[in-house]
């Protein structure tokens, strides 16, 4: 019963939905994370990242759909110490030292790491004797990382772990995190720093409006948003015609100027010129993850961009 089912996904979400009053925070999320994957959950504020994470952790119950962690309910996975998490806006207890805080959490788990080892892995060993109210924002995050690690969890969930850090601290944090996950831990982290997703994640899941807008490797997500962007003045063209061109994944037409996102800009451009010989002022630009992010999370669009997988 307590063995990990080798075929089970580390995280499996299906049809997950959650409403808060009139707001649908998560609106039908399906996601499967394989053991050992490092996945970045990207998206603007209000995209539903934290709500999704809360349901994976069992901190809130979905209105519809299911969340499974290693084939178990989140509550069971938590009880077995399989999940370690750094929550957003969490604080530490001011009346305890760092070592005591981590020991307290360790004492609640069945098979914890030695406190010193957890502190060391999180790069917080030099903070052991410090009270929580004497820590900087970045130091507090490292301690909270140690708390997440102390149960030696198979799945690590980090909700915007570097939000309060300056760039140097952020780099150190990811270094510690990277060394730790070499051991094959599954990691899901939410972030709004694109470079963090680009640099540290095997896979990027982009959320917007409570749904998954794109899911794949960084390269795939870029492609999903249009590997390139073609801008041109196309007199007389209708948006539907432009969208019908091959490999077009997105289209924005304003006063005769079109901005096309394309997965294969060469093919799209040839077709564009064949169909609209009057097209002029043509520019082609490569889309970075940032523009992919903007394209895919642009909520003014009615259509859903094609996911990469």
């Amino acid at each position: 019963m307590s063995e990990t089912n080798p075929t089970a996904a580390a995280v499996a979400l299906s049809g997950l939905r959650k409403r808060y009053g009139a707001v649908t925070a998560v609106d039908g999320v399906d996601l499967e994370i394989r053991p050992g994957e490092v996945v970045a959950l990207l998206g603007p504020n209000g995209a539903g990242k934290s709500t999704t994470i809360d349901m994976i952790l069992g901190l809130s119950a979905p209105d519809a759909g299911t969340a499974r962690v290693f084939g178990r309910t989140p509550a069971e996975a938590v009880r077995e110490g399989r999940i370690g998490a750094m929550l957003q806006n969490g604080t530490l207890l001011d009346d305890l030292t760092v070592a005591e805080t981590v020991r307290l959490v360790a004492s609640l788990h069945r098979h914890p790491l030695p406190v010193e080892r957890a502190l060391q892995r999180a790069g917080a060993q030099d903070l052991a004797a410090r009270r929580a109210n004497r820590l900087s924002g970045g130091q507090a995050q490292r301690v909270r990382f140690a708390i997440a690690l102390v149960s030696d969890p198979a799945l690590l969930v980090l909700d915007e772990p570097t939000a309060a850090m300056d760039p140097a601290t952020r780099r150190d944090f990811w270094k510690a995190m990277y060394e730790d996950t070499a051991a094959g831990r599954t990691v899901l982290f939410a972030t709004h720093y694109l470079e963090e997703a680009e640099e540290y994640a095997d896979r990027v899941v982009l959320m917007t409006g409570g749904r998954i807008a794109a899911d794949g490797t960084v390269a795939e997500v870029r492609a999903a948003a249009g590997g390139r962007t073609i801008r041109a003045a196309v007199p007389g063209a209708a948006e539907a015609d432009l969208r019908a061109l091959p490999h077009v994944t997105g289209c924005d037409l304003r006063e005769g100027r079109a901005e096309l996102a394309s997965a294969d800009s060469d093919a799209t451009l040839r077709a564009l010129l064949a169909r609209f010989p009057a097209a002029r002022d043509i520019e082609i630009a490569a889309a970075g993850l940032e523009s992919a992010f903007l394209t895919l999370t642009d909520q003014t669009r009615d259509d859903e961009p094609e996911p990469a997988r």
Binding site: L59, R79, L93, D95, E100, L104, R110, I147
Partner: protein, 246 residues
């Protein structure tokens, strides 16, 4: 019961200066002052009067330990620490139970200190049965107050906590007979006082040292048990509501 967890909980409480002042130093200090001011050396009832003051201070000490214990619940709630704990195998029930046990243990220092001073400095002399009723009674009689503290911790925010617990201390202390012995109360207050559970907490010990203005042990225990049941139901109800909202 998790020993490491409980030990760290106790250590946290002992680091809190408000706890140390109000649940330990203040009752000791008040005992010394009241016995000096109100008990004359040539008073034939001096031993009883001293014992009554001791009993009241014990009640006040365990009362404030319970309030301070519940206060940590509010702090942990506001700090997001309860969410962190929900990611461990600790169940909500064990969490609340642990807080209850900690509340009981936090009453122990004052239950030791005041009697030791009363015996050594004031020559209070009581038999085993009297001591058992006073110490064990006051200790267990703290249960409804521990539940009251937890209820406040479930409801209050850290910034409303202090005025709330100070206000309650004043009412329970003066009207409920912990700071002023019933003997010193005007008649109208003597009639009003039994409304408050702190009156019955002081009665637990008072009955062991004097029959004057005392209630029977059975009635006292029953009233406190009723308070414990009512407050326990409120704590559990609130706890269920909190868990369901998740």
């Amino acid at each position: 019961m998790n020993l490491t967890y409980t030990r760290i909980e106790i250590r946290r409480a002992l680091r809190n200066s408000r706890f140390l002042i109000f649940a330990f130093a203040f009752p000791v200090f008040l005992f010394l002052i009241q016995t000096n001011v109100f008990v004359a050396d040539d008073d034939p009832g001096k031993d009883t009067a001293t014992a009554v003051i001791m009993v009241n201070m014990l009640a006040f000490g365990v009362f404030f330990a319970a309030m301070s214990n519940g206060g940590r619940l509010a702090t942990e709630r506001a700090a997001g620490w309860q969410r962190q704990l929900r990611l461990t195998p600790l169940t909500g029930r064990s969490y609340m139970l642990g807080k209850g046990v900690t509340g009981l243990l936090l009453g122990v220092p004052v239950l030791v200190a005041v009697p030791v001073i009363a015996v050594l400095a004031n020559g209070v002399s009581l038999d085993g049965a009297q001591w058992t009723r006073i110490l064990l009674g006051t200790w267990l009689g703290a249960v409804p107050f521990i539940l009251l503290g937890l209820l406040i911790g479930q409801l209050a925010r850290p910034d409303t906590l202090q005025p709330l617990s100070m206000g309650l201390s004043l009412v329970m202390g003066f009207l409920g007979g912990m700071w002023i012995p019933v003997d010193a109360m005007p008649t109208w207050m003597q009639h009003l006082s039994p409304v408050l559970p702190s009156y019955w907490l002081t009665q637990l010990g008072r009955g062991a040292v004097t029959g004057d203005l005392s209630r029977g042990l059975g009635l006292t225990a029953a009233v406190l048990a009723a308070w414990a049941l009512a407050l326990g139901a409120l704590v559990i109800g609130r706890y269920r509501k909190d868990s369901a909202r998740a």
